[in-house]
């Protein structure tokens, strides 16, 4: 087991202008489950494949432990990878699939059998050891792919969207099992997903990427409560944070015509330039006495909580915001409600970087 370090790691795909991954800096301590998350084309898979040795580096270096592996072949990096489509060898049985890497390493047959059986026991695969992958269900195949990784006891696990081929229910269940398994084995794991819920629930830390550039790497709680910029703020959380562009006038920022007071953060905010103000659905309070007038567009009642999509007149336009409220909720589509702010508000500058977070007031 070992730590993983990316140091200014860069990858250009031939014939493209922009790097797929640009000067990526990240330190993953031993035993951590780090999730790389981002929209498609953000470079998260490329970053993982660079660590695997499947993509060469065009700049910078990658270290596993103290060893610079930048120019080391995949097979000499002591890593194991779980692929999105599992990449099981179709002509081999489950046991042979799981023992394949050990066989390549010339591990004696008896020890190979022992380690495969041990992994099969952990993953509930013992009854299927003699089956071929085509005779397994999707969930079983996924577990075989996991088993193939764990029999090797590698320094690092690499997982490239390993749950995205499972149906929704199984995905949620496997998500928990996988996180528990990682905890138990204590192997440093780099996990790629485009699903921010998966990232938030599994990762010890989550690294958010966009356009090949690392936006922020922090614990799920910090990403949620202290996003570094407007992109992270909008990407993490479901439904997404309400992000409202504001052009301050007369030295004051106004939301739907009502003056926003930033309290003691007032001094940090440049009210002479355009801003973006962000607040989570739970910070938007519905009631009869709020300052802001809004109309209900749709209501998503999930049973335990209700998300109310609202339309608000703001700077001559209709904008949409989402408010979270408790169930049961009595409102109907088309009703007029009033909104107040009852939670932290994040202020992002013109460049998207966060300037301040404060309990703002709406007058």
């Amino acid at each position: 087991m070992a730590s993983v370090t990316y140091h200014k790691a860069t990858r250009f795909y031939p014939g493209t202008e922009r790097p797929a991954v640009a000067e990526f800096d990240l330190e993953i301590p031993d035993g951590e489950l780090l999730v790389l998350v981002g929209p498609s084309g953000s470079g998260k898979s490329t970053a993982l494949r660079m660590l695997a040795g499947l993509e060469p580096l065009d700049g910078g270096q990658i270290k596993i432990g103290d060893r610079d592996v930048s120019n080391v072949r995949p097979r000499d990096r002591d890593i194991a990878m779980v692929f999105q489509n599992y990449a099981l060898y179709p002509q081999l049985t489950v046991a042979q699939n799981m023992g394949f890497a050990l066989k390549q390493q010339k591990v004696p047959k008896e020890e190979r059998r022992k380690r495969v059986e041990e992994a099969a026991r952990i993953l509930d695969l013992t009854p299927y050891l003699d089956r071929k992958p085509k005779n397994l269900s999707g969930g079983q195949r996924q577990r075989v792919a996991m088993g193939r990784a764990i029999v090797r006891s590698p320094q690092v696990f690499l997982m490239d969207e390993p749950l995205s081929n499972l149906d929704a229910k199984l995905r949620v269940q496997t998500r928990t099992e996988l996180a528990e398994l990682q905890e138990r084995l204590g192997v440093t794991t780099v996990y790629v997903t485009h699903d921010q819920v998966e990232a938030m629930t599994m990762g010890h830390r989550v690294a958010v990427l966009k356009d090949g550039i690392l936006q922020q790497c922090d614990t799920p709680q910090n990403l949620y409560h202290h996003p570094a910029n407007a992109f992270v703020a909008g990407f993490i959380g479901s439904p997404a944070m309400n992000l409202v562009p504001i052009t301050p006038a007369d030295g004051a920022a106004r939301l739907g015509g009502h003056r926003l007071g930033f309290g003691d953060a007032e001094g940090d905010i440049d009210l002479g330039a355009a801003l973006t103000v962000g607040f989570r659905p739970e910070a938007a309070r519905l009631g009869d006495d709020g300052p802001l007038e809004a109309r209900i567009r749709t209501i998503e009642d999930l049973g335990s909580e209700v998300f109310v999509h609202l339309v608000v007149a703001h700077e001559g336009d209709d904008i949409q915001i989402v408010a979270k409220t408790a169930s049961p909720f009595g409102g109907r589509n088309g009703d007029n409600v009033r909104v107040s702010l009852g939670g932290p508000v994040h202020v992002f500058g013109a460049d998207g970087e966060r300037v301040a977070s404060t309990n703002a007031t709406l007058a």
């Binding site: 499947l54 990878m81 990449a87 060898y89 179709p90």
Partner: protein, 283 residues
């Protein structure tokens, strides 16, 4: 009758008519071969007379064409020569084409399009135009009337086709499998042996059988370069043509014998080929 039932009924009739047409076309295609087989069981007189099915069939013509007479090319010798040249050239073709196709399919080398075009362009020149230099070269290297010259030429003849076919089969191998094997610790040769070849095996078999058939059927090189010795089956078939007397029944018997290995290989190749082409669907 509801609209649904009518639609089902119409489907059955379309199927029946299409089936009938297929059988008819099949019979038209097969008829010359049937004719050949029937003729091979007649004697020369009946074979040359107005066609009739009212005769007593015998296998005497087969006995005649396979009898070895001194100074003439025997069937056994011709079949041995053909088997050796076809099998050996096919093995060499696969040995060379598998790495070539791998390089063009899995991690395409630079200018792979040019490489592929070069391979197929070697088939553009008419064989007749190349036979004189080939004959001179063969004579220079003392290869005339040897099996070796045919093995070399059949290898060259089938190699482009094999590379093209194998490349498309190899492209069907999921990329992640190759990467998984690389991470699991296999070398380049190991990836080829333990992942690519087992998965593409039906395609490799189909390619090999096709090369075997083409080499077995080849006549032009054989007759030009090996007229005196190391002759192959197509030449043996033509030795049954004589300038005196009737030879249709004997020639038919020889043709049927020459076709049997190809029919078997073709039948096997067809089954494998379909599996090979369906390979991409199995994941």
């Amino acid at each position: 009758m509801s609209a649904n039932e009518r639609a089902v009924g119409e489907g059955v009739w379309t199927d029946r008519i299409l089936g009938l047409v297929a059988w008819l076309v099949g019979f038209i295609y097969f008829f010359p071969i049937l004719w050949l087989i029937i003729n091979s069981t007649k004697d020369e007189v009946t074979a040359n007379a107005t066609p009739t099915l009212d005769y007593s069939p015998s296998l005497d013509r087969y006995r005649e064409v396979t009898e070895t007479s001194v100074g003439l090319l025997g069937a056994g010798e011709a079949f041995t020569n053909s088997a050796i040249t076809s099998v050996v050239s096919t093995l060499i073709v696969l040995l060379l084409a598998i790495p070539a196709a791998y390089a063009l399919a899995i991690y395409p080398v630079k200018k792979w399009r040019d490489a592929l075009f070069f391979f197929i362009s070697t088939k553009f020149l008419p064989l007749v135009a190349s036979i004189l230099p080939l004959w001179i070269l063969a004579r220079q290297f003392d290869l005339l009337n040897t099996r070796l010259v045919l093995i070399i030429l059949y290898t060259a003849m089938n190699l482009p086709l094999a590379v093209w076919m194998l490349r498309s089969f190899f492209q069907e191998v999921p990329r992640e499998l190759v990467e998984a094997a690389e991470i699991d610790g296999t070398s380049l040769i190991g990836v080829l042996r333990s992942v690519v070849i087992p998965i593409a095996a039906p395609g490799i078999a189909a390619t090999g059988l096709l090369c075997l058939i083409f080499a077995w059927n080849e006549y032009f090189f054989a007759v030009q370069l090996n007229a005196a010795d190391a002759q192959t089956v197509p030449i043996w078939v033509t030795t049954n043509i004589s300038t005196r007397g009737n030879f249709i029944a004997k020639l038919s018997a020889a043709s049927v014998l020459a076709s049997i290995p190809v029919v078997i290989a073709g039948w096997v190749a067809q089954k494998r080929m379909i599996r090979g082409l369906a390979m991409g669907a199995i994941k």
